[in-house]
Each structure stands twice: as C-alpha cells, then as structure tokens.
C-alpha cells in the first residue's frame, strides 16, 4: 500500500502547526461524516408487542386451563399462537429488510439484534416443543424457558440498542423470581411479567423514536 505524508499547502514551508491543523481538520471531517450519514434506528416495536401479547394470552390461558383440568388444549393453543407469532415476525422482518434496502441504509445493530432473537427463539421452541411432544420436561417448564429466553434476548437488545429493553428483561427476571413464592399463580405471573417486559419498553422506544423524528424535522 502506498503511503504519503500529511498533505501540505502547495508551496508552503512545512511546519508542525500546519501538520497539526491538517490532522485536526481530517479528524473533524471524519466526525462530521459519521454524524451526517448516521440515521436513527427504528425500534420495530410492533414485533415485540405482538410477542408480549402472545405470552400474556398464552400463559394466562395455561393458568386457567390447568385449573379447569383441560391440559389437552394447551399444545394446540401453544402451536396456534406460536405459528401466528412466527408468521407475523417473518412478514414484519421481510418488510423491514425491504424498507431498509429501498432507503439505501442497512444498519448493523438491528442485524445483530435479529440474530440474537433468532438464536434464543430456536432454543425456546426446540426445548418447549420437545418437552410437550415427548411429555419430558427435564429441560424445564416451557413457560419458564420462554420467559428466561425473552429476558436474555431483551437484555441483549438493551445492551446493543436502547436501555429500555434491558429494564424489560430485568422485569421478566423479577417476575420469574416471584413465581417461586406464588407457585399457584406462576403462569399468570409469568404471563403478565413477559407481556409487560416486552410491551412497555417497546412503547417507550417507539415513542422516543417518534419524538426524535419530529424534532429532526
């Protein structure tokens, strides 16, 4: 690779001050370019809100189905809601990818966050389905596994993107802890904790994003 000295003004005698000022100018230019090309990342809140609602409905239903001794309905309900959630998520992600491509800007953070969620979702689905289909829950209660997965994924999203998600993850963690002291209402507590843990940060992030967009205009 060819290398060169710091550019000098034509015909001028080289001085330290000139080199220093040229270096500072280049650094300033780089910072300006980064600021100019950087765009706010949309939180894609509807996807997480849908999963929050699914968790709330599913866990609450599981609580009441268990109380009414109607366990046989749990698996069909689980499969229906999960299929709906996955369908909605893949459609939404397709739309996001399309929108980003047409805008000409594909940010890195959402790609990283999507991969984290996909890996966590694969774990939740694999161990939950295996447990329910084989009636072997040695990996843990599917509801508890899902809450743990969501809590981890939300915390990771909070670290990479915006800290509101981290609080959501912490809320779910607290809810999981609470189930040890209120075993009879465990599913109901998990449902409410996962629902709130997903929906509240999603709404806050979307609101912050909208406000920032308005200010930018």
């Amino acid at each position: 690779m060819k290398e060169e000295h710091l550019p000098q003004a034509a015909g001028s005698k080289h001085t330290d001050a000139e080199g220093q000022s040229a270096a500072a100018e280049n650094l300033k230019f780089m910072r300006a370019v980064v600021q100019r090309t950087d765009r706010q990342i949309k939180p894609e809140a509807p996807v997480i809100i849908v999963w929050g609602l699914i968790c709330t409905i599913l866990y609450s239903a599981v609580h009441f189905l268990m109380k009414a001794d109607l366990q046989k309905w749990i698996l069909p309900l689980y499969l229906t809601l999960i299929a709906f959630g996955l369908g909605h998520t893949f459609y939404a992600l397709r739309q996001v990818a399309r929108r980003q491509k047409s805008a000409g800007y594909i940010p890195k953070v959402p790609r990283q966050v999507t991969w984290i969620w996909l890996i966590v979702a694969a774990h939740i689905l694999a161990w939950s389905l295996l447990g329910m289909l084989l009636n072997d829950y040695s990996a843990g209660d599917p509801a508890f596994l899902a809450a743990m997965g969501l809590s981890i994924a939300l915390a990771a999203t909070g670290i990479l993107y915006s800290r509101e998600w981290l609080y959501g993850g912490a809320g779910i963690f607290a809810g999981m802890f609470l189930t040890y002291f209120a075993k009879d209402y465990g599913y109901l507590i998990l449902g409410l904790a996962t629902g709130a843990g997903c929906i509240v940060p999603a709404i806050i992030c979307q609101r912050n994003f909208n406000r920032q967009e308005r200010e930018n205009e």
Partner: protein, 99 residues
C-alpha cells in the same frame, strides 16, 4: 518535527472523498450508492471511481442486490478497512496531541 520524522500516512485514505466513504461505513452499516452519494455530496462518476479504488484495496466490499427488479449497489467496510482507518485515526490523534 522534520518531514522525515512525520508518520507515513495511508495514501488511499488521505483523499477527502475516500476518507469520507470509509468514515461513513465505519460503524458497520451497509450503505447504498445513492445514499452515500447524497450524504457526501459527490457525483456518480467520482463516487464510482473511489468505491472501485477502495474495493481494490479490500477496504470495502460491494454487494449488488435487486429491489423491484432494479439493481442496487450496497457498500460495507471490511476488517482491513476498519484496521486502516483505526490506524490513521491513531496517527492523526498522535499528531494533534503529542506536539
């Protein structure tokens, strides 16, 4: 500091246009040709030439995708490009701070 003592700069990055392109991509985001052109205020021809130069040096990677049957050219920085820019920033900071 004499000219001989001055650090050697990467010639490829000492052009404002190329420095602008690589700085825009440094966060790891993928940017489309027209997005870069408009953000940096460049002409199609200039941007195209500078992208080719950076791609040749393996500082950026160019990907072509189709959207509604129209081709779109996306650029993203490579590890080599990241390293080169980090090295340049260190050199420039050294020049600004240590005198």
């Amino acid at each position: 500091m004499s000219r001989a003592d001055q650090p050697k700069f990467d010639k490829l990055l000492m052009s404002r246009t190329r420095l602008g392109i690589i700085s825009a991509l440094v966060g790891g985001d993928k940017m489309e040709f027209t997005y870069l052109r408009d953000s940096l205020g460049l002409t199609d021809g200039n941007l195209s030439v500078q992208i080719s130069n950076l791609e040749e040096a393996e500082y950026i990677k160019v990907e072509k995708v189709f959207l509604d049957r129209k081709p779109k050219t996306f650029c993203r920085i490579t590890n080599r490009g990241q390293r080169a820019l980090k090295h340049l920033v260190k050199q420039l900071e050294g020049l600004v701070d240590l005198r």
